[in-house]
């Protein structure tokens, strides 16, 4: 797709997923160009979530390959990794039904996201137990990074409140901030606008654009892949749209082109016409 020399951040090749006899995803290929917001859309049951779960390692695909090229230019074949290693390779995700650590504070949530580097700084738990320095500095840096993200999502005042006590919209943004605290190359969002009111949706759109452009915090610009039902937000913020239907890719392109695509219109409206 991309004509530049910079490799795409993510390339999905001939991805196939079968549950028993059900072919949920059938040889789907697409790319997530670097520095873009790419939306994965399609009617219910199109296989979006399955593709998403294959990319983020929660399912192991039956066939095909998922390739990530990180910020540093390292190429990783995701579909051979265990799930926590996918996150370490640079793919962060959120969940459709928010999965924050409800009994822990917003700040703690963001610190857990930085577990890997922090844990190494403690000498895997042993050094810090004995009071060896180095961890203190690492923790201070982690807290600073967390605070930066809390400011970016406007929750700095509630840093010490349990995540479960925050309003729904705040929880959504906190989950995105948590994913970003892992320092990902690619941020994957599973229906981030679900259940948000129009104002919260606007806030979310601004947040996502600032994450893409690297203006939200001092973090580098981060490419985004999202599944979304809310077409308004998809058309407004996406640079690139991939449309799935019945487990197959039926269209791909910029939002304006997708809006006109007869296949897409048929896929979304076809069922309605028959009724």
């Amino acid at each position: 797709m991309s004509t530049t020399l910079v490799p795409d951040i993510l390339s999905v090749e001939e991805l196939t997923m079968r549950f028993g006899g059900l072919l949920a995803v059938d040889r789907v290929s697409f790319e997530v160009p670097r520095g873009t917001i790419t939306a994965l859309i399609g009617p219910n049951g199109a296989g979006k979530t399955t593709v998403f779960n294959c990319i983020t390692g929660f399912y192991r695909p039956t066939g095909g390959a998922v390739r990530l090229t990180t910020h540093e230019g390292r190429e990783v074949i995701l579909n051979t990794l265990k799930d926590h290693n996918i996150a370490r390779a640079g793919v962060a995700r959120t969940f459709q039904n928010i999965r924050l650590f409800a009994g822990m504070t917003a700040l703690e949530n963001l610190l857990i996201a930085q577990h890997g580097p922090l844990h190494r700084a403690t000498g895997f738990g042993i050094g810090a137990l004995l009071g060896i320095s180095g961890y203190k500095a690492a923790e201070a840096a982690a807290i600073e990074r967390a605070a930066e993200w809390l400011r970016a999502i406007g929750l700095i005042a509630r840093a010490d409140d349990p995540a479960g006590s925050l309003p729904y919209g705040d929880q959504r943004r906190l989950e995105i901030a948590r994913a970003m605290c892992t320092g990902p190359s690619l941020l994957c969002l599973d229906e981030p606008a679900a259940g948000l009111n129009p104002r919260e949706s606007d806030d979310l759109a601004r947040l996502l654009l600032s994450i893409r452009d690297g203006t939200a915090t001092s973090a580098a610009p981060t490419s985004i892949l999202l599944i979304e039902h809310d077409m308004g937000i998809v058309m407004r913020i996406s640079d690139h749209v991939v449309v799935l239907d019945h487990g197959k890719k039926i269209a791909e392109g910029p939002p304006a082109a997708i809006r006109q695509d007869p296949h897409v219109i048929a896929a979304y409206l076809g069922e309605a016409e028959q009724e």
């Binding site: 290693n85 504070t105 857990i112 930085q114 738990g125 700095i156 840093a159 010490d160 892992t182």
Partner: protein, 425 residues
């Protein structure tokens, strides 16, 4: 409740009680001298039990409203949680000066040692169940590994307590990893039942491997601990504790020493737990308890994180086991039955998962209370079990259900139990 309604309610309860007790209390089978069974009737006892149920139920119906029941524990917990730090400090001060308090004799110290052993076991298991949310019903296995490690190492290699103590901990941790590795990906109740099975397997092996462990006869003559090389005895030689320090030889010395030993071990457990909780690994344990799937999505190696919790918990169990062996000088598989695991787990849950102070209080109440009822003999376990049920019904989240954050930008505020998850793993 209106009197007539309460009366009807009590009558119903009595009818049920009659049904329950008519066979089990009203009748009793006994073995006659010829070996055959014969039946005895105890209608008076049956009538008494039924009358008791009637009176009790009537009293509850008339004077105790459900509201009172739900508040009963709240009044106790709020100050406990609030003054947690003060309360903990107070307990610690009492613990440190306990042997010097007038009126504390050998019996009281022995009891205190017992309570502290359970405090330590509770804190050890708290790492596994309270922080990491892994339901372990076989914790006693590691206690047994620690005890037998010390007993066997001392018996076969003549190693001293101070060499064996760390070894017992390491061996227990090793067993924790060995047993934990294959099963830690199991969820919730499966994990519970497999750990229970492991606990039983270890006990059965100890019971039947007579050549090594002495089987049901156990191991006796386990060396008593020395004061860093100075034995406790009554001879008064310069080479003994009393002689070296120029004290009048007294059997209390050893008890006091054992008391401080277990106090130190328990405090070590506490110190390590509190410290680790504020570290990435400790936070990862709690995150795991809250949501395992989210942990995986954040790049946390779930298996390794669970294993560290399991191993660390096992290690403290092992320390406690070695202490138990040296204190008793005799161990047998009988000390490591499932009921021990259940009691330790009950202490953790009654105290409030993850709460250090709560666990200590629960251990004092349960073990101390158990000792208080020692005159009840065989009724004692009955009361103990009933207490477990009643406390759970009144306070399902334990004494301290809230959680203190490990880090804060501003003021640390404790988090109510409504938000804190109990873990599924």
């Amino acid at each position: 409740m209106a009197f007539s309604a309460a009366l009807r309610d009590a009558a119903k309860a009595t009818a049920i009680a009659f049904g329950l007790f008519v066979v089990m209390v009203g009748l009793r089978t006994d073995v006659s001298p010829t070996g055959a069974l014969f039946l005895r009737t105890r209608w008076t006892e049956l009538a008494m039990v039924c009358a008791l149920v009637f009176a009790g139920r009537l009293a509850i119906g008339l004077w105790v409203t459900p509201r009172f029941l739900t508040n009963a524990g709240g009044s106790l917990a709020a100050p406990l949680a609030k003054a947690g730090a003060f309360f903990g400090m107070g307990l610690l001060v009492v613990a440190v000066v306990l042997p010097a308090i007038p009126g504390i004799g050998r019996y009281e110290l022995d009891l205190a040692i017992l309570v502290l052993t359970y405090v330590m076991l509770g804190w050890g298991l708290n790492i596994v169940v309270g922080l990491a949310g892994l339901l372990d019903l076989g914790y006693v296995a590691f206690y047994a590994v620690g005890a037998y490690s010390y007993a066997l190492l001392a018996q076969y290699f003549g190693l001293s307590f101070w060499v064996c103590l760390p070894l017992a901990g390491i061996l227990a941790a090793f067993w924790g990893i060995l047993l934990g590795f294959p099963v830690l990906r199991l969820r919730g109740d499966y994990l519970a039942i497999v750990t229970l099975a492991f606990g039983e397997i270890i006990r059965i092996v100890l019971l039947n491997w007579v050549d090594l462990t002495g089987g049901p006869n156990g191991i006796s003559g386990i060396p008593r601990p020395t004061f860093f090389g100075l034995p406790f005895n009554m001879s008064g030689d310069p080479g003994t504790f009393a002689g070296f320090f120029g004290l009048e030889p007294s059997p209390t010395h050893r008890v006091v020493f054992l008391y401080y030993l277990i106090l130190c071990l328990a405090l070590l457990t506490n110190w390590v737990t509190i410290r680790i909780r504020r570290q990435p690994i400790g936070r990862a344990w709690e995150a795991l308890r809250e949501d395992e799937v989210a942990c995986r999505a954040l790049g946390i190696n779930v298996t390794n994180t669970k294993l560290t919790a399991f191993a660390l918990g096992a290690m403290f169990g092992g320390f406690a086991g070695a202490f138990f062996a040296t204190r008793q000088a005799f161990i047998s598989p009988e000390s490591f039955t499932f009921i021990e695991s259940a009691i330790i787990l009950a202490i953790v849950v009654l105290g409030g998962l993850g709460s250090q102070v709560g666990v200590a209080v629960a251990a004092i109440v349960m073990i101390g209370g158990f000792e208080l009822f020692r005159d009840l003999d065989e009724w004692r376990m009955l009361v103990f079990g009933a207490a477990m049920v009643i406390i759970m019904v009144l306070r399902p989240r334990g004494l301290v259900g809230s959680r203190t954050p490990t880090v804060a930008l501003g003021q640390k505020r404790s988090i109510g139990s409504d938000y804190v998850s109990e873990g599924r793993g």
